[in-house]
C-alpha cells in the first residue's frame, strides 16, 4: 500500500494548477464566468483539451491519453481547489466514462475523440423528478420501430443539459434500463437551461419521440454499468470536494489571522482555532478515504462499495467544513462578493449530485452484517 504520487503525477498537478490558477486565481474571474451561459469558460475548456486532460482516462485507440484514475483524481482536485466551473467530472468521468465502458468501437472513437479534443461536450441525462440517485431510469421510455429508436419523457435536472452537444440518456425498455445517445440538435428535443445555486448549469430536457441511438450493443440491463460509472464519478467528485475543502480551510485560517476584533486577531480566540483544528481533522480523514477509493478504482476492486465509503466520509466532511468556513468568517462568508461561501455552495451541490452521505450510509448499513471488519489493507 502506497499513498504518494510519482514525479509524473506531481508534474501533472503542477501543470493543471498553473492553468487553472491563471483562469480562476482571482475569485472574481470565476464570478464573471458563471454569470453568463454556459456557466463555464469555453476558452479554458479548450485549454484543458489541449493539455490532454479531457481524454485523460480514455484508451489511446479511442483518442484518449490512457491514464488512470489517479491522474483523473489529480485534475479533479485542482478543479475543486479554485472552484473551476468547467464540467470535468460530469463530462469526462461520468458521461464520457459511460461511453468508454459501453460504446461500440465506432461510438467510442467518435464521442471520446471529439470530447478529448474539446469539440464535443457530452452530458448524462439520467435524473428525473421523483428519482433519487438510483442507477435505473424511472419514467423516460425508449421504443423501437423498424430498427430505429425514439425516446419519450422528461429528464431534470440534467447538468449542462442545455449546452451539451450530446446527451447520454437513460431510458426504460421493458423493465430494463438502457442508454441512448441523442445529439443536441435532434428533432423532438426541448431543452430549457437554468442556473444552479453553485453557478453551474442544469436543464429540463424533454423528449417527444426523439430519435436516439442505442449506446453499445445487446439488450441487457445497463443499470449495473451506470452504477459503476456513477461510483467512479462519486470518487472523482470526492477529489473535487477535497480541493474545495482545502481552500475553504486555508482561506478560513488566513482570515482568522488577518481579521481583528476586540483589538486582537481572531486567532487569539481558542473557541475559533479549535474549530479550525476540527475542520483539519475532517479534511484529512476524508482525504485518506477518497485517495483509498481511487486506488480501489485503479485496482478494479469493489468500486461501488468504495465509492459509498468515500461519499459518506466526504459528505460529512464537506458539510462540516463548508458550514464552519462561513461561520468563522462571519457575515462576509454569506456574501456573493467574497469567495468562501461559493465553496460551501459547490460542496453542497457535489454532495447532492449522485447521492449524499445518508444515502451512502443507508447502503453501507444494509451490508454491515455481511463482514466482520472492513479491511483497509488488501
Amino acid at each position: 500500500m502506497e499513498f504518494s504520487y510519482d514525479d509524473e503525477q506531481n508534474g501533472l498537478r503542477e501543470a493543471v494548477s498553473a492553468l487553472l490558477s491563471r483562469a480562476y486565481g482571482d475569485s472574481e474571474q470565476r464570478r464573471r464566468v458563471v454569470g453568463t451561459d454556459p456557466g463555464f469558460d469555453e476558452k479554458t475548456w479548450g485549454q484543458l483539451a489541449e493539455m490532454g486532460l479531457l481524454g485523460l482516462p480514455f484508451a489511446e485507440a479511442d483518442g484518449g491519453m490512457g491514464a488512470g484514475p489517479v491522474e483523473v483524481s489529480i485534475v479533479a482536485e485542482e478543479i475543486g481547489r479554485v472552484l473551476a466551473p468547467e464540467p470535468f467530472v460530469e463530462a469526462v468521468v461520468l458521461a464520457g466514462g459511460l461511453v468508454a465502458d459501453l460504446g461500440t468501437d465506432a461510438q467510442r472513437a467518435e464521442v471520446l475523440g471529439a470530447l478529448a479534443e474539446g469539440t464535443l461536450l457530452p452530458a448524462f441525462a439520467h435524473t428525473e423528478i421523483g428519482s433519487r440517485w438510483q442507477a435505473s431510469a424511472q419514467s423516460v421510455t425508449a421504443t423501437e420501430d423498424g430498427g430505429s429508436w425514439r425516446l419519450t419523457g422528461v429528464k431534470e435536472p440534467v447538468p449542462n443539459g442545455a449546452r451539451a452537444d450530446l446527451l447520454v440518456v437513460s431510458a426504460l425498455v421493458g423493465g430494463a434500463t438502457r442508454l441512448f445517445l441523442v445529439p443536441g440538435d435532434a428533432e423532438g428535443l426541448t431543452r430549457t437551461g437554468y442556473r444552479n445555486h453553485d453557478g453551474t448549469r442544469s436543464a429540463k430536457v424533454t423528449f417527444a419521440g426523439t430519435p436516439a441511438q442505442p449506446l453499445g450493443e445487446g439488450t441487457g440491463d445497463q443499470a449495473p454499468a451506470i452504477e459503476k460509472a456513477q461510483a467512479r464519478a462519486r470518487v472523482a467528485y470526492g477529489h473535487e470536494a477535497l480541493g474545495a475543502m482545502e481552500t475553504a480551510l486555508t482561506t478560513t485560517a488566513e482570515y482568522l489571522k488577518a481579521r481583528k476584533q476586540f483589538g486582537v486577531p481572531l486567532n487569539k480566540f481558542q473557541a475559533l482555532t479549535f474549530r479550525a483544528a476540527d475542520m483539519y481533522v475532517s479534511l484529512e480523514l476524508a482525504r485518506s478515504t477518497v485517495m483509498w477509493a481511487t486506488l480501489v478504482v485503479d485496482a478494479d476492486g469493489d468500486v461501488v462499495a468504495a465509492a459509498d465509503r468515500a461519499r459518506l466520509q466526504t459528505s460529512r466532511a464537506s458539510r462540516h467544513i463548508g458550514k464552519e468556513a462561513i461561520q468563522l468568517h462571519g457575515g462576509i462568508g454569506v456574501t456573493a462578493e467574497y469567495k468562501v461561501g461559493h465553496y460551501t455552495s459547490r460542496l453542497t451541490a457535489i454532495d447532492h449530485l449522485l447521492g449524499d452521505g445518508d444515502w451512502a450510509l443507508a447502503r453501507l448499513a444494509g451490508s454491515v452484517g455481511e463482514h466482520q471488519t472492513v479491511d483497509a489493507l488488501q
Partner: protein, 391 residues
C-alpha cells in the same frame, strides 16, 4: 499510489497473525477480549512471549533488539496484535523510557536497563504529571537537589499508571529552579520504587479498578549516575518520549475488535421479534463507525508512510484525537447494546447478566481517560491549530 500490500508485506501480516493467535496464551487474550483487568503476571508472560520471538521492541535500535521494520510493518504488527487481543508490550517500557535510554542514555545505562526493560524484568512507571502540572507539564514542582553523589528528591507525582506493579520510575524533576525558561530547569531521573522515602497511594477509578496512583517523594536519595542524558535537558527527552507515545495511540485494531464484538452481541438480542443487529438505526450507527474507523486507519497508513527521521508527522495529532474518540464511541455502543443489562456492573456469579454486559459500562467510563491521557484532545487541537494551520 498503490492499493495492494506487496507480497512481502502480505506474508509479514500472515506471520504476525499466526504468531499472535498462537504464541500468546488464550487465557490472556480472552481476558483482554473480555475487558478484564490483567494481572501483573499476565502482562509479564505476554511480553516475554513477544520478546522471546523478537517482537516486543521492533522500533528500538537493532543492537538492542529492534527489527529495522518499515513504518507499514510496524503498523501491521501493532494492529494484528490488538486485533488478536494480545496485550501490547508495556508502553512505559517499550515506547517511553526504552527509546529515551537508547537515544540519550549512557552506554552503562543502556547495558544495565535495555535488555531488562524489553523483557519486562524491570517494570517502569512514569513520573510526569503532578497535581498542579497536567497538560501544563512544564510547571512541575517536584525538586531534586544535589547532595554529594546523590540527588535528593522531594515532591509528588500523580496519575502514575500501574505504579503498583512498578520496580522503577522515570521521573521528571526540577533541578534548576532559577532557570529563566521553566522548561530548561528540568532533568530526568531513574530510581527504584522501593527506595526509602517513596510512597504510593492507589486511586480508585470510576470503574472500580485501581489503575493509577499518587506517588510521594520525601528525601529520596538517587545516585547521580541515574540521571539520563544531561542535567537540565529533561524537557527535551520528555518531548521525545511524548512524541513516541502519540504514535500507535490510535488503537485502531482494538476498536475494530470492539466493533466485531458489538455486532456479535447485537445479533443475540431480540427487539420486537427481530435481532437488534437488523434494527436500521443500529446498523447505520455501526456502519458509520466502521467507516470512520476505516478513514482513521487509512490516515494512520498515510501518516506512517510520511514520518521522516523518526519525528511524528504533524497529522499524528489527528490519530490521537480521532483514535480516542472512536475508542470511546465503541465502548458507548457496547453499553447501548447491553441496554438495561448495562447497569449490572458488579453482578455476582449467580447473575444471568453476561460478562460482556457487566463490564460494558465500567469500560465506557474508564475509557473517558483516552481523550485525556497522552496529551489531552484539547492539547492535540492546540498542536493542529498552531503547528499545522499556523493559528
Amino acid at each position: 499510489m498503490r492499493l495492494h500490500l506487496s507480497p512481502e508485506d502480505r506474508a509479514f501480516r500472515d506471520e504476525m497473525r499466526t504468531f499472535f493467535s498462537t504464541a500468546v496464551p488464550q487465557s490472556i487474550r480472552d481476558a483482554v477480549a473480555a475487558h478484564r483487568e490483567l494481572t501483573k503476571e499476565q502482562f509479564i508472560e505476554a511480553q516475554r512471549a513477544l520478546n522471546a520471538a523478537g517482537l516486543a521492541v521492533p522500533h528500538w535500535p537493532v543492537e538492542w533488539g529492534g527489527r529495522d521494520w518499515t513504518p507499514l510493518q510496524r503498523h501491521i504488527w501493532r494492529e494484528e496484535m490488538q486485533l488478536a487481543g494480545v496485550p501490547e508490550p508495556l508502553a512505559f517500557n517499550t515506547s517511553m523510557i526504552g527509546p529515551v535510554i537508547a537515544t540519550f542514555g549512557s552506554q552503562e545505562q543502556k547495558e544495565r536497563f535495555l535488555p531488562a526493560t524489553a523483557n519486562l524484568d524491570i517494570w517502569w512507571c512514569q513520573g510526569f504529571s503532578e497535581p498542579d502540572a497536567g497538560s501544563d507539564l512544564a510547571s512541575l514542582r517536584t525538586t531534586a537537589v544535589r547532595d554529594g553523589d546523590d540527588w535528593v528528591v522531594n515532591g509528588q507525582k500523580t496519575w502514575t499508571t500501574l505504579g503498583q506493579h512498578a520496580d522503577w520510575i522515570f521521573c521528571l524533576v526540577r533541578t534548576d529552579p532559577t532557570a529563566e525558561k521553566r522548561q530548561r530547569g528540568i532533568s530526568l531521573l531513574l530510581f527504584p520504587m522501593d527506595t526509602p522515602g517513596v510512597t504510593l497511594r492507589p486511586i480508585e477509578l470510576l470503574d472500580g479498578g485501581f489503575e493509577v496512583n499518587e506517588v510521594f517523594f520525601e528525601d529520596v536519595r538517587v545516585p547521580a549516575e541515574n540521571l539520563v542524558g544531561e542535567e537540565n535537558h529533561g524537557w527535551d527527552y520528555a518531548k521525545f518520549l511524548l512524541g513516541n507515545e502519540r504514535v500507535g495511540i490510535a488503537r485502531i485494531g482494538s476498536t475494530k475488535r470492539m466493533l466485531i464484538e458489538a455486532k456479535e452481541h447485537a445479533r443475540g438480542i431480540t427487539v420486537n421479534g427481530a435481532p437488534l443487529s437488523e434494527d436500521p438505526y443500529m446498523t447505520a450507527r455501526i456502519a458509520e463507525l466502521e467507516n470512520e474507523l476505516l478513514a482513521l486507519e487509512l490516515t494512520a497508513l498515510r501518516v506512517v508512510a510520511n514520518s521522516a527521521g523518526g519525528r511524528p508527522h504533524p497529522a499524528s495529532s489527528v490519530l490521537k484525537l480521532r483514535g480516542s474518540e472512536l475508542q470511546q464511541a465503541a465502548t458507548e455502543l457496547l453499553v447501548d447494546i447491553a441496554g438495561p443489562l448495562s447497569v449490572a456492573s458488579f453482578a455476582d456469579e449467580d447473575s444471568d447478566v453476561p460478562e460482556w454486559a457487566q463490564v460494558a459500562t465500567p469500560s465506557y467510563l474508564n475509557y473517558r481517560k483516552v481523550s485525556i491521557y497522552g496529551g489531552s484532545n484539547e492539547v492535540q487541537r492546540t498542536i493542529i491549530a498552531g503547528s499545522i494551520l499556523g493559528l
